[in-house]
Subunit: 319 residues, 2 copies
Amino acid sequence: MAVYTEIGDEDLARLLADYDIGEPLALKGIAEGVENSNYFLQTTKGRFFLTLYEKRVDEGDLPFFMGLLEHVAAGGVTCPAPVHGRDGRIVRRVAGRPAALVTFLDGVSPKRPSVAQCGEAGAALARLHEAGRGFALTRPNALSIAGWPALAKASEARANEVAPALRETITAELAHLQAVWPRDLPSGVIHADLFPDNALFVGERLTGVIDFYFACNDAFAYDIAIGLNAWCFEPDRSFNITKARALLSRYQAIRPLQADELAALPILARGSALRFLLTRLHDWLNHDRAALVRPKDPLEYLAKLRFHQHVSDANAYGL
Amino acid sequence: MAVYTEIGDEDLARLLADYDIGEPLALKGIAEGVENSNYFLQTTKGRFFLTLYEKRVDEGDLPFFMGLLEHVAAGGVTCPAPVHGRDGRIVRRVAGRPAALVTFLDGVSPKRPSVAQCGEAGAALARLHEAGRGFALTRPNALSIAGWPALAKASEARANEVAPALRETITAELAHLQAVWPRDLPSGVIHADLFPDNALFVGERLTGVIDFYFACNDAFAYDIAIGLNAWCFEPDRSFNITKARALLSRYQAIRPLQADELAALPILARGSALRFLLTRLHDWLNHDRAALVRPKDPLEYLAKLRFHQHVSDANAYGL
């Protein structure tokens, strides 16, 4: 949530000379994104979003992320479209950092998404899954089940400072998921982080899906499970089945789920809850108290995990 | 350089209901301003800048600042124009903070202003001084000569950690300025902080003067002295007389300086250099190392002070 690299007017002039997007009218550092520097750029030809990649994003992944945005934008997903320079390239260096320019999208992220907005999120996931077909590059999901033991290990010594017996809960859940995790579900490119923060709306209409920096190849249904956790719980941690039904039915109107995907949904939802519990727990325990960014509460995901532990089949999600 | 208060989509909807400025399309927190929360707001009717006042700005001063913007905008100054709500009010509360909405101005701040841009800054100061006439409210300049002894006192114990004999330099300069400070110069509303950071340009054309939170009543020529210090030194700390000539001549084309103002310029330039030396020294010594904002170098202003100490008359500024 900060601009780490300052761009002066001379850097900006040099940058724009590489593009055919008009003359600069305004450049404002945006307090958005945790580890990158983001700018709103207005030129005589339009509005753009400039990102300088600081450290959390691996430069080697940029061709995947940028290629994916371009591929799925062409397939009808409302996402930022990368802008090519006069030399044809998307990624270049600005102020010493790898940087990319994409189109600016209207829209505001909802704090408490409505039922209709949850439906829009479901439809967006389905469109993304369909549009991602044929994309040539691949990127493994480092934060799926193979990555969880190391994450759990990193926090185990201090997990019980955060909640009683949290360490034991995590160990048992991980063992269970390793025993039953589904392996052969339909897969492809998933967003893997479609939270309301990463969706833009004008009113009830979704106008943008953003922040593809966790996008990877994994089971489509796992992306839906992430979405159920991210969109369908209320601030009091209760599960809103109406929102889940909206998300799933709008998804299925575009890409119907197979029987094995439906059957796997409760397990995938537990896995997704564990994934965010683990990463949040890590950030919580290793948070620099001086930083402006407040870590997110890991216990929110413990509550979600407990909910899904009591789900026996996908009917609990409104189907 | 940070957003301290987050505005959710519901806060935004509530806010916009109070205005006749269309429907929200985008809201982005801007990494600009040291102590306020600033947002770029795009609606179906235009672009705006929303500020939530956190602590450095005294709420009691907002009628002065907002009234001044409105008064001088009507007088031809290119500055943000406050937007009135349906109830006629400019200042209201958003997310528990005093807040105001102003028009968004195009333009980028120069890191190293050109001669032409220095001229534009001079003309902008003159237009502001003329346009401020007739503004009913007043605000004393807390950071003029009467305020400097307390500032000097606050840093004196540690001043010499920053430069050899800095404490003695400050004490002697303050005594000198108190003996010779001019008292009866033409006065009115001044910006008091017109640095390149607070000016917006599209190419060589000034498109906006922003950040009026130091505006106050004081000698017009003191504002020019601040401008000479802020615009006419090079990064190597040398004085660029061509830039000074541009600033002063464009100023005088709109508001010719009287003989007493010209005569006072070297003393006012020393005073202005001391003022920024003192405030930067204070921030330097009391800087929270964990904060993202890096304090500005006080010694830049010691160098400027030393330059003006050797100036005998305004000819040194290119006149």
